[in-house]
Amino acid sequence: MKHFLDITNETCPMTFVKVKLQLAKMASGEQLEVLLNAGEPLQNVPRSCEEQGYRVLSNEPTDDNKHLLLIEK
């Protein structure tokens, strides 16, 4: 099952707080697609996910200087 989270309107620390809380609700093996802004969220969200043992499957730029991250729990 794939979940989606848009954190483009969030600022630190709620960017990675919301990702963490969403991942906590999900079952192992489920995927989460995260739409985020370049800059601080792009630097920190993938790194904090990997540090916690989640797999960042892809990280693709979209329009308007945003990125789409695919994370597997």
């Binding site: 309107n9 600022t11 620390p13 963490k20 809380l21 920190n44 540090e51 916690q52 043992g53």
Partner: protein, 162 residues
């Protein structure tokens, strides 16, 4: 969840009951918890006001002095800005500015801290002085502890004083 064996720890002493300093404490706490650190918030003296179950002004305590102090200090809704407080108007203006810029407000940060499992403990001595009981505080307060317990629990932690 896969947790590293040597999970990093942060302990924050929330001494100041100032609005802006409490925002800083909860921002660090939620950021640290979201990045897999074990976080303890130790509330003492003015910081205890942020933990009161009643967020407004209530004459908590038994003695006249304690009642007066607790009423004047109030709860989470009455925390003053450390500078330019303007009789309590500034924290409300600051919250409006935070919302306008999509920055999490203090109640949102507190809620996130609870959801992330940040450990919240209250100082026994300060509670004793201000005659605040555990039943006067929010249910998320996990423990009432003394400084020795806090230091033991924070042995391998970075300690931040706010």
């Amino acid at each position: 969840m896969n947790l590293p064996a040597n999970k990093k720890k942060i302990s924050i002493v929330c001494f100041s009951g100032d609005f802006d300093k409490m925002v800083a404490a909860f921002t660090i706490a939620t950021g640290a918890a979201a990045t897999n650190r074990e976080v303890t918030l130790f509330f003492t003296f003015w910081g205890l006001n942020a933990l009161k179950k009643n967020r407004g002004r209530v004459a908590t305590g038994k003695s006249i002095l304690a009642k007066a102090f607790n009423f004047l200090m109030g709860g989470l809704n009455n925390l003053p800005l450390s500078r330019l407080n303007f009789f309590g108007a500034s924290p409300k203006l600051m919250s409006m500015m935070m919302k306008k810029h999509n920055v999490a407000t203090l109640p949102e940060l507190v809620e996130a801290a609870h959801a992330l499992g940040v450990r919240i403990v209250a100082c026994e001595m300060a509670m004793h002085i201000l005659e605040v009981e555990k039943s006067d505080m929010i249910e998320e307060v996990q423990d009432v502890v003394g400084v020795a317990t806090f230091l033991n629990d924070s042995e391998d932690a970075h300690i931040i004083f706010i």
